[in-house]
């Protein structure tokens, strides 16, 4: 069973990389766009830190680490998660999801592996560049166990992002016109650009428990600085697993509600 799905994943990956190889110019373009994006993403940071050393206990260099994680995850999100799930929204609108549902494999697996944009990996490179610059500013290196913790957190964040996307797409089954769901999601994810302790009150609650943005960018940044408590790491792993489980249940439920629009 597992080997069959692995083989299927291989096939889908090969198909989309072949597609991407056709447009090698995209590599350069994506790189440029990614740099441009990062530049504009940094602009507010420069304005905020214009004449003060730290905000909510985060210095400029430390906040840069958060931006680095944001950029990196944006690459993961836009390169591996969004493209195929945008396809689902299209399927739902056109009523062609039936063709996917009829195939003898898990529908969620199929819809989430159909399309990758490998050139978006340039975002990951930009993120790593920001890390190097940030540590240069801080005048020290990352902590080694912290780096491993950060890698674990990268996995949990990806899982979280993916689950959040599945939840958003599930909403597409109930909302009539959904072209702008992508923008909705992006605008929420945008808040992850800032260190979580900045947010107070209601927003802090929402961003920690309902939409766990803190976990995606602030935790890994803290881990690299070597100040993330072990308790938080465990909570992140458990939390993201629970989140994935919930999104899976919701997806199955929405599929159950789906009535083809075409026939």
């Amino acid at each position: 069973m597992l080997s069959r799905y692995l083989r299927l994943l291989g096939v889908q990956l090969r198909a989309s990389s072949l597609l991407a190889m056709q447009y090698r110019g995209d590599f350069l373009l994506e790189g440029l766009i990614s740099l441009f994006w990062t530049g504009t993403a940094l602009a507010p940071l420069f304005v905020v830190y214009g004449d003060r050393g730290s905000i909510a206990g985060w210095s400029f260099g430390e906040a840069l680490l958060v931006v680095g994680w944001f950029t990196l995850l944006q690459g993961v999100l836009e390169g591996a998660i969004t493209p195929s799930l945008n396809g689902v929204v299209e399927h739902i609108r056109k009523g062609t999801l039936d063709f996917v549902l009829l195939k003898p494999a898990d529908a969620q697996f199929l819809v989430s592996t159909t399309r990758f944009l490998p050139w978006r990996a340039t975002n990951v490179l930009t993120g790593i560049g920001i890390f190097i610059y940030a540590f240069h500013l801080l005048g020290r290196g990352p902590s080694i166990p912290g780096l491993f913790a950060a890698l674990v957190l990268l996995a949990t964040s990806t899982l979280l992002l993916y689950s959040l996307w599945i939840l958003t797409v599930s909403a597409a089954f109930f909302v009539v016109r959904v072209d702008n769901l992508t923008y909705f999601f992006q605008s929420i994810f945008d808040a992850a650009r800032w260190p979580a302790p900045i947010f107070k009150g209601a927003l802090a609650f929402v961003f920690t428990f309902i939409i766990p943005l803190a976990l995606m960018t602030t935790f890994p940044a803290e881990a690299m600085l070597g100040r993330l408590p072990l308790k938080s790491l465990v909570a992140a792993v458990v939390g993201s697993c629970v989140f994935a489980f919930v999104s899976r249940r919701v997806w199955l439920r929405s599929i159950g509600h789906y009535t083809s629009a075409s026939s």
Partner: protein, 267 residues
């Protein structure tokens, strides 16, 4: 396709637009939810201003500013670029071209049709802002109100015409989606949507003054929160409407040239 027929048909088109907005209210809610950035920025900037004010903005000023930003964004929204891009690629633009009135009028009517529904959100938020910030949340002088209305109309026109221009680019290139994304990022940075333009470092600030983006959000918001005197406000309104004119000529010329390239098959 004379202007007279267009003007006569416009009220009907508007009514259609309003009922369409009513029919797709769920989508409108999703859209409103996706414009929550001012609220996030509000949290951020009030945290920054807690120790000491920045420029002339203290924590309550930021609350007023960003609630006004939220309101203005609702009232100046347009999505014609996505519509045109989609209809060009699907070829359904042909249907619109069959009508005896320019499609631009019907796009405008559809986009404006959401206005009453958006007021339902904008008015309570303004009242909330009034209750938190006090009188500073709305214009203090009598002349502030008509100016605010003119500024909102100008802001909407610039947003809409930019949408038309970018959407039309789909006729020249495969898809104008990427172009729209680039426009949006510039808009977010330079419009005053994420922070008041006057907080920029001097160089960026003078760039922002010359670009069209500030006229879309920043100017109406600044007028709403009483940031300018009468003379300064008049000068800025003049600059805004100059942009409306430039964008109008540019968008319509582009549209006319683009249509010549349009060839839809099937139908």
């Amino acid at each position: 396709m004379s202007l007279r027929t267009a003007v006569r048909a416009f009220p009907t088109l508007l009514r259609v637009g309003v009922s369409e907005a009513l029919a797709y209210r769920a989508e409108l809610i999703v859209w409103v939810l996706s414009t929550t950035m001012p609220l996030i920025m509000m949290a951020l900037w009030t945290a920054v201003a807690r120790e000491a004010p920045i420029g002339r903005y203290g924590a309550p000023d930021f609350v007023g500013y960003f609630l006004a930003t939220f309101v203005v964004r609702q009232l100046t929204g347009a999505w014609a670029a996505w519509q045109i891009n989609f209809e060009v690629r699907q070829g359904t633009l042909a249907m619109r071209l069959l009508r005896p009135i320019s499609p631009l009028w019907s796009y405008a009517a559809e986009n404006l049709g959401a206005f009453p529904m958006r007021l339902l959100i904008a008015v309570p938020v303004t009242l909330l802002s009034l209750s938190i910030v006090g009188g500073q949340a709305v214009p203090q002088h009598w002349w502030g109100w008509p100016m605010l209305l003119v500024a909102i109309l100008g802001g909407w026109l610039i947003t809409f015409l930019a949408n038309v221009a970018i959407g039309t680019m789909a006729l020249f290139m495969e898809s104008s989606q990427k172009l729209m994304d680039v426009w949006l990022v510039l808009f977010f940075v330079f419009s005053g949507y994420m922070y008041p333009v006057e907080l920029f470092p001097p160089l960026l600030r003078s760039i922002a003054d010359w670009l069209p983006f500030r006229n879309q959000i920043g100017l109406p918001v600044e007028l709403m929160t009483n940031k300018h005197g009468l003379q300064e406000a008049l000068l800025m309104l003049g600059r805004q409407w100059l942009w409306v004119l430039v964008m109008g000529v540019f968008a319509i010329t582009l549209w006319r040239r683009g249509l010549r390239r349009f060839a839809a098959f099937g139908g």
